[in-house]
Symmetry: C2
Subunit: 290 residues, 2 copies
């Protein structure tokens, strides 16, 4: 499976972002990409840095955005995973990933299930938690287990995608550091982020792709300084071994070739799916067991 | 929480193992250990390297073994986690961890829930899967989420222990390489083993302790060459950062001080337990979703 991974900074406007992204997709297609994956909310800056009702305007173009990316997928004849701010009804919004087939048709949609909320990442203000569940999206290149950012910390999401036959897990992401944190803490956060996702690859015997943005984005409300997105987009195989690891501060459009037969190989010798104690897991659906 | 971690080779006989282990426990107590954790099936060589009915004899002393370790815990006044071959009835055996209080009383027992079976690790022949579920054991030093070896690959086990209030996850282990594998594959296996467990620490905001044996143990049935146990016992904090990492080939008895308030700190800023989509996890109890 030849995947194009696009790690970007915010270019200052939506128009410039679309141009840069289309250019990257075309270049990856020319290199042989069958599938291209983009970072979370790649059309804009990461606007959830503060709570501002004006930002809901960014979702007004949702239908146009879908039509735009459908055309891009068709023109480049790639399977394309985009991440959009979805207006579903008046006052009802989602953080959604749309997957397009090579002919521009919609293969499927995923609405972010786990929504974060912590200083600088005020997503509960903007996004209603997804109601489409954890369903892999069938495409001509395989069943894509598309999840989004905060979902990456939840082993349940990765497991459910695997049990439903996902060939790969894909996490469009927007995560970064606060400059005021010390270097040791920054290193621990980045390491934890990579480790927990590599853990999903290992526990499930599936490759994992995470795509993150780069660049410092300021908080225009001036409550916090801003976020320095840490890049480090990566691809690991079904044993958790790196196939690609991006820089922390450079734009990248890189083709990564994933050998999906590794899942067959690794699950035969580490057959975790065989040994799961499904008779003893029912309390996973509890909030806490007091 | 001052934990003593004991990484050992097989000393050639049970008597010699008991002597070496008691010596290590006493030394750790002298350094200030409140809790001592031992590797999987630490009384003997790892006998599951082949299937031999003679090995069931090793479980005949189960009641005596429990009495012996109770006395050791009491004499050193430490909470002690041991790993024993439990004979429960004629023809019914478990791979069990017993936790003793400082006064030698039994604080609780865990029977290994996930049982492996692959070349050199024929545990399904010896051990009936546990029927005590995933229950942390309450002790004077905290609630111990004791799991055993193969359990470490299953995020469900770590999650359930966390939901039941475990302050720490503890994995007595016996895992190693085959000498005939290439160095790159050995490195990938070791890395996967550490990564998946560090992932549990991160996803759950709990410290994790894994204790593994060292040394090459031959297969007396000569079907395989044997197993070179890879050591690398480790302790990570609630953010997955290393507090201790043992060698691959040396015996170690090391005191590690875990700051359990880190769970409070990390779960406040990474509140995964807050955001779990318990309304959407029910199919975790399925074998596969066709």
């Amino acid at each position: 499976m030849k995947i194009g991974v696009v790690q970007q900074k915010y270019h200052g406007s939506k128009i410039l972002m679309l141009e840069a992204t289309v250019t990257a997709i075309k270049a990856l297609k020319a290199e042989g990409a069958e599938l291209v994956v983009l970072q979370e909310l790649h059309q804009d800056r990461y606007f959830c840095v503060n709570e501002n009702v004006e930002n809901f305007m960014l979702a007004e173009s949702y239908e146009e955005d879908v039509a735009f990316w459908a055309k891009v997928a068709k023109e480049s004849s790639v399977v394309l995973v985009v991440s959009l701010f979805e207006k579903r009804a008046v006052g009802l919004y989602h953080n959604s990933a749309i997957v397009f087939e090579k002919d521009g048709s919609i293969a499927g949609k995923y609405r972010k299930m786990h929504i974060p909320d912590d200083p600088g990442f005020y997503e509960k203000f903007y996004f209603t938690p997804g109601d489409l569940g954890f369903e892999p999206i069938e495409t001509s290149v395989g069943k894509l287990g598309v999840l989004i950012c905060w979902d990456q910390w939840f082993p349940e999401a990765a497991r459910l995608m695997t049990l439903k036959g996902a060939d790969i897990l894909i996490y469009p992401t927007a995560i970064g550091w606060f400059d005021e944190d010390c270097e040791a803490e920054k290193a621990r956060q980045l390491d934890a982020w990579m480790t927990v996702q590599r853990g999903h690859a290992i526990a499930n015997g599936v490759p994992v792709v995470a795509i993150n943005r780069i660049g410092k984005e300021l908080d225009d409300a001036k409550v916090i300084d801003g976020i320095r997105f840490w890049g480090n987009s990566f691809v690991v195989d079904a044993q958790g071994a790196y196939l690609y690891r991006g820089s922390k501060d450079k734009e990248e459009a890189v083709l990564v070739d994933i050998d999906t037969s590794k899942s067959e190989e690794i699950r035969r010798i580490w057959p975790f799916l065989r040994d799961r104690r499904i008779d003893a897991y029912e309390k996973i659906t509890y909030r806490f067991i007091d």
